[in-house]
């Protein structure tokens, strides 16, 4: 029963994140969805990933969203969809049915078997390339944060035009 409530809460949070008119509200619903995803991962036995998802997904990403929305401002645009809604529905229902059909075999599978190797052994021993990739991605993220924080007046085009006028 608890699992069903968590999944219903998760899907409601995700739906509200999409439906919310205000971007800030949308970001907060997304944080709720992240927290419930972390809870579901914990119940699935992925303890380390659940903690990281909770701190990064519900914490860091939400802060970034609020920061970006404060800078960019609210803008309600979604009255006319970029793809006609019936087409979007057909694509989504088709994709979900196909995925569900392909994963029917997992319905009876046993979840929560004791792992042969630990998470730490796999991350630091077998998947070192992933760790290197993560380090490279974090550097890219730092560049992204710098792009987020750069002042409007510091833009080369603006400086050039200011010099012409000044």
């Amino acid at each position: 029963m608890m699992y069903i409530l968590i999944v219903i809460g998760l899907l409601v949070c995700a739906l509200q994140a999409v439906r919310a008119q205000r971007l800030l509200t949308s970001a907060l619903w997304l944080a709720g969805a992240s927290a419930l995803t972390a809870l579901l991962m914990y119940l699935l036995g992925a303890y380390e990933v659940a903690v990281i998802e909770l701190s990064v997904g519900a914490g860091l990403v939400t802060v970034l969203f609020v920061f970006a929305i404060n800078i960019a401002g609210e803008e309600a645009l979604d009255f006319v969809p970029s793809v006609p809604r019936p087409v979007a529905w057909v694509v989504v229902v088709g994709a979900v049915l196909l995925l569900g059909w392909m994963n029917l075999g997992t319905l009876g599978a046993v979840i929560g078997v004791t792992p042969v190797t630990t998470f730490g052994n796999v991350v630091w021993g077998e998947r070192q390339l992933d760790v290197l990739l993560q380090i490279a991605l974090i550097f890219a993220g730092v560049m992204g944060v710098l792009g987020l924080m750069v002042e409007e007046g510091a833009h080369p085009h603006k400086i050039e035009s200011q010099e012409k006028h000044g």
Binding site: Y3, I6, V7, L10, L11, V18, L23, S26, A27, L30, S34, T37, L44, G45, A46, E48, V49, I52, V56, L60, F65, A68, I69, G73, E75, L77, D78, P81, S82, V83, V87, A88, V92, A95, V96, L99, G100, N103, T106, G108, A109, I111, G112, V116, T117, F119, N121, E126, R127, D130, L133, Q134, L137, I138, A140, G141, G144, V145, G147, H155
Partner: protein, 100 residues
């Protein structure tokens, strides 16, 4: 029980995210939709690891996806902020027709 429920959550998250990705025009909402889809993919990786009996590999891949997803969000939000400053809009349709 939890496997079936998790599968429903995965399909629901992927469906909601894909639908939002198709219809949204606001750049920040597109990032929200992408985040929702990636949450479904992460859950799927964890569950696939559990079903295959290699839970640690599924979890380590989910960890990589969390890092990559966060960086994608950071870069996309930075792009959205700069686009808003330069063009005054977050509408992805308007961006394709704008000239400077």
């Amino acid at each position: 029980m939890i496997g079936t429920v998790a599968l429903i959550a995965i399909l629901g998250l992927l469906g909601i995210g894909l639908y939002a990705l198709l219809i949204m025009r606001n750049m920040i909402k597109v990032v929200v939709a992408l985040q929702i889809m990636v949450k479904g993919a992460m859950l799927a990786m964890v569950m696939a690891g559990q079903v295959a009996g290699k839970a640690a590999i599924g979890e380590s891949m989910a960890l990589t996806v969390i890092v990559a997803d966060t960086i994608v969000a950071v870069v996309a939000l930075a792009l959205a902020v700069q686009v808003r400053r330069r063009f005054g809009t977050l509408d992805i349709k308007a961006l394709s027709t704008l000239r400077r």
